[in-house]
């Protein structure tokens, strides 16, 4: 089934980027994620949907070990990025997060200039040797985030002075500056107005030509608009994972149907 914006590209040509198998997460006594196994494709947008507390953000945070920062969290099971176990003790989580970037719900630019916001990651990871190279990365990242034309004349202005939608695109530029392979987005548009949302969605559609994008969203229409694969989580379980057109026209599991048609909260 083709949609008009062409977001349902040919998935046959893509390969698996992340393989999760038997992933369980406990926060202390509470069992937040129960035995989740899923293959996430490269060069495609995968949407995680489900009611609040269903485990979708928890699972997203497993993919770049953000749950490591929560003392009570315990993650078991296997998550492979390009076939390598990201929970292997030899893996440096900081290096991992450069490869698996993240964009959060509320735009959270550093209280620095637009330029420094984007340059920060490449600097601390030592990705550049001189100012010219850094300039190049900053410009390329801002272009990828579809923000360059709006900010090129005021790169020294504070990032916090931008509009909400621009701030979010700045955060996306910051995330892509370290040359990631996977971009995780946790409700990236929930604080944006409809126009800024459309711009970020358009950007997400562009980004999938270079990255594997995983987006958590409460807006089912957004999942339908931007993703090629959709995973529905409920009560810590991955209920259904399928091509997005399939999920929204003819889901197999009655719980998925009940959720997307607005029958359970």
């Amino acid at each position: 089934m083709d949609d008009m914006r062409g977001t349902t590209g040919n998935l046959a040509a893509t390969t698996t980027k992340i393989t999760a198998s038997g992933v369980q997460v406990h926060y202390g006594q509470s069992h937040a994620l129960k035995d989740v196994s899923v293959d996430i494709l490269d060069r495609a947008v995968t949407a995680f949907i489900g009611p609040s507390g269903c485990g979708k953000s928890t699972f997203l945070r497993c993919l770049n070990r953000m749950n490591d920062t929560i003392p009570s969290a315990r993650v078991t099971g296997k998550i492979l990025l390009d076939g390598e176990d990201i929970y292997d003790p030899r893996v440096d989580p900081v290096q991992l997060r450069a490869k698996v970037g993240m964009v959060f719900q509320k735009p959270n630019p550093f209280p620095k200039s637009i330029y420094d916001n984007v340059a920060y990651g490449p600097k601390i990871h030592g990705l550049t040797r001189n100012k010219a190279e850094l300039d190049e990365i900053v410009e390329a990242s801002l272009r990828k985030a579809a923000l360059w034309n709006e900010v090129k004349d005021r790169l020294d202005a504070p990032g916090t002075g931008l509009s909400g939608g621009q701030q979010q695109r700045l955060c996306i530029a910051r995330a892509v500056a370290t040359g990631p392979e996977v971009l995780l987005m946790d409700e990236p548009c929930s604080a944006l107005d409809p126009i800024a949302t459309a711009q970020v969605e358009e950007l997400i559609d562009d980004l999938r030509s270079q990255f594997s994008v995983v987006i958590v969203t409460h807006s089912m229409q957004q999942a339908a608009r931007v993703s090629q694969k959709t995973a529905f989580f409920h009560l810590g379980n991955l209920v259904e994972y399928a091509d997005t057109p399939q999920i929204f026209t003819n889901p197999k599991d009655p719980r998925t149907e009940a959720y997307i048609t607005g029958r359970i909260g």
């Binding site: 929204f248 026209t249 048609t261």
Partner: protein
């Protein structure tokens, strides 16, 4: 999907659209029965009422389309809800066409009333009409009850209707060859038979929409066509 929406207005809108399509189905069934009756008994008053009644059927289709457009625009239905809206629109379109055929039968009744009866024709047509109206009734029942089996059955029965039409076609051909004075009435009667056969196709379309509504996909196998008249589908 029996559970109600969290948003009750959504349920109300969906149910209203479906109630309209069922009402439309009732009007079309009645129009077809009346048209067949008028033809059989040469009742011109009844035929006139059928012709006038088509306006109400068309108006219902318009109202259904308007409501479905609003549902799509305002509620953003997905999955089973989406299929419900899509099937309501398609069933309404099929019923509207079936209604037009009833109207056409009634028009030809007036013309036929001026001509000499063709022996045996009215019994054959009555049988064909009965089979087709039953198909439509069953297709609508299958819709109301989401009855996959009945829908499949209606779909299979279209084959019998095609066969009945083919034999009527041959019957009329024989009459016309034997006695050229029957050509006028036989042509009208042939169009009547063809139109009733087409109503069968629309009843089949309704049944196929029921299958789509319940399973999420249309039947893939080509429906068996038995048309040896060479007049096309």
């Amino acid at each position: 999907m029996n559970t109600a929406h969290i948003l009750t207005a959504f349920d109300r809108d969906l149910e209203a659209a479906q109630a309209l399509v069922v009402r439309m189905g009732g009007l079309v069934e009645a129009a077809l029965l009346d048209a067949a009756e008028a033809l059989d008994t040469r009742d011109e008053d009844l035929a006139a009422r059928v012709r006038a009644g088509d306006k109400a059927i068309d108006a219902l289709e318009d109202e259904i389309n308007t409501r479905c457009a609003l549902l799509l625009a305002l509620r953003g239905p997905t999955a089973g809800d989406l299929r419900t809206v899509l099937t309501v629109m398609k069933i309404a379109a099929a019923l509207e066409r079936a209604g037009d055929y009833a109207k056409n039968l009634a028009k030809r009744t007036a013309a036929l009333a001026q001509m000499a009866p063709v022996p045996g024709a009215s019994a054959s047509i009555r049988r064909l009409a009965k089979a087709v109206v039953q198909m439509l009734t069953d297709a609508l029942d299958a819709y109301i009850r989401r009855d996959l089996k009945l829908a499949e059955d209606v779909r299979a029965r279209d084959r019998e209707v095609d066969q009945m039409y083919n034999s009527i076609f041959r019957e009329f051909l024989t009459h016309m060859m034997e006695d050229p004075r029957t050509i006028g009435p036989c042509m009208h009667l042939h169009f009547i038979a063809k139109n009733i056969e087409r109503v069968g196709d629309h009843a089949t379309a309704v049944a196929e929409q029921v299958i789509y509504l319940v399973t999420g996909s249309l039947p893939e196998d080509e429906r068996p066509k038995v048309d040896s008249t060479g007049s096309g589908a």
